[in-house]
């Protein structure tokens, strides 16, 4: 019997190792798996490479993980936003590395890893500094830049409904990068608001098929990053 249920967020992230590449779902606050990230702070793995669109906000979630000194490199498209303070400070002090990737290229590199495609050509960045040093090729008279896939050891993802087989649905724009990250990581760890029985999700409505998911942990009343920031919260 396949059962991917994990008893707790702590158990779900206990094997994340020092130096691991970790994808974290979410676009800004929406879809950010706060409970899994805080469990990773408690767990303490260091020298992580994090992949997310942003670098977290305030002093909770992703920003707290970075502030705790556990992250040596960030791969993202937009490292500064109005509530982002931790990353900009460390970056200016030379204490964290940044690989800047355009948002669509970031998504496609993650998708490619999950799809078994080691590289692809895209028009994005042609003629800009972000294309410097990269292989370019012409197709039908137009230039394209080669981009490699982006794999990870772990993905931390938040979803709305999951079953024990790992079938997932999301809530609105909280979906963003998560289905792609589930495909691209060796071990995909999901926190779900509702854990239902197999068969309770209509197969027509499954967004992430369970084959891409390794662990599911129920977090019935997840906190939202925006709420925590409005409260001025910090972690730990």
């Amino acid at each position: 019997m396949i059962n991917k249920k994990s008893p707790s967020v702590a158990a779900a992230v206990e094997d994340v190792f020092d130096g691991a590449v970790v994808m974290v779902g979410g676009f800004g606050a929406s879809g950010s798996p706060i409970e899994l990230i805080h469990a990773l702070i408690d767990q303490g793995a260091k020298d992580l490479t994090l992949i997310n669109n942003n670098t977290g906000n305030g002093e909770v979630g992703l920003a707290a993980l970075i502030a705790n000194g556990q992250v040596s490199k960030m791969i993202c498209s937009f490292p500064r936003s109005s509530q982002s303070r931790v990353f900009p400070k460390l970056y200016r002090e030379g204490k964290i590395e940044l690989e800047l990737v355009p948002q669509g290229t970031l998504a496609e590199r993650i998708r490619a890893a999950g799809a078994g495609i080691p590289a692809f050509y895209t028009p994005t960045t042609v003629g800009t500094v972000l294309a410097e040093g990269k292989e370019q090729r012409e197709f039908n008279g137009r230039s394209y830049v080669m981009e490699p896939w982006l794999e990870a050891d772990f993905a931390l993802v938040k979803c709305e409904v999951a079953d024990p087989l790992g079938n997932l649905t999301y809530n609105k724009t909280a979906r963003n990068f998560s289905p792609l990250m589930c495909m691209a990581a060796t071990t995909t760890i999901v926190q779900t608001k509702h854990l239902v029985a197999a068969g309770d999700i209509d197969p027509e409505h499954v967004i992430t098929p369970g084959i891409f998911v390794n662990r599911v942990v129920e977090v019935a009343d997840p906190v939202h990053e925006d709420t925590l920031i409005a409260e001025g919260a910090s972690y730990p």
Partner: protein, 214 residues
């Protein structure tokens, strides 16, 4: 002396050029105002690259859904017929040429259509690109709405961008407070002047050769 169009009038003028039934992506700032000026009898469908087609206006404060936001991370709503999708699908819509019009703000536009709107290139600046480079390469019509000059009076329409490019040769039309301007093989060309604005005023505020309206 006239200062030309207001932010709202610039957005309204841009909206006039968007055909009925267009799929439209709007940048942050003045472009967001386009939604308020959809011409009578037309319907635009708004795409926001974080994963929503059919974006509606901002919600009332007590009707916010924290999981429903736009690419600028502001809370939004959906219109009937909206859909959600992941980022790879969203950027397939962009890169695959499925979005008809993108309206962007900018720091600089050059006479050959180059646009620079993501970084000043300053050594202490933290580079942040988001979806800007995907949008300018993928969307068929790139329109720019911008004040004609910076707050300190420097031209934003220039011969060559001094800031790092977002994309080369991609802009087709520019709406400023002074005029509507096309990017043509011969460089900038005025299409229409704002009320009370002369061509000479536009020429004086532009950092490149500009041709008068035909």
């Amino acid at each position: 002396m006239s200062t030309g169009w207001t932010r709202e009038q610039m957005a309204a003028r841009a909206a006039l050029d968007i055909p009925d039934g267009s799929y439209v992506n709007l940048g942050i700032g003045i472009p967001e105002l386009v939604t308020q000026f959809v011409p009578e009898g037309r319907e635009f469908i708004y795409h926001t690259e974080n994963g929503l087609l059919g974006m509606g206006p901002p919600p009332a404060e007590d009707e916010r859904d924290l999981d429903l936001m736009n690419a600028g991370k502001k809370y939004v709503t959906t219109v009937p017929g909206a859909s959600y999708f992941h980022h790879a699908d969203s950027f397939s819509m962009i890169r695959g040429g499925h979005i008809d019009v993108c309206v962007l703000g900018t720091m600089q536009v050059a006479a050959n259509g180059d646009i620079a709107n993501w970084s000043t290139g300053a050594p202490d600046a933290i580079p942040a690109v988001g979806g800007a480079m995907d949008l300018v390469q993928g969307v068929r019509n790139i329109y720019v709405i911008t004040q004609h000059t910076t707050k300190t009076g420097e031209p934003k329409l220039v011969e060559k961008c001094s800031y790092p490019l977002t994309g080369p040769g991609v802009v087709s039309r520019i709406y400023t407070n002074l005029a509507v301007i096309d990017v043509t093989p011969d460089g900038f060309q005025v299409v229409e002047l704002a009320p009370g604005i002369t061509f000479e005023e536009v020429e004086k505020s532009t950092g490149a050769t500009i041709l008068p309206a035909k």
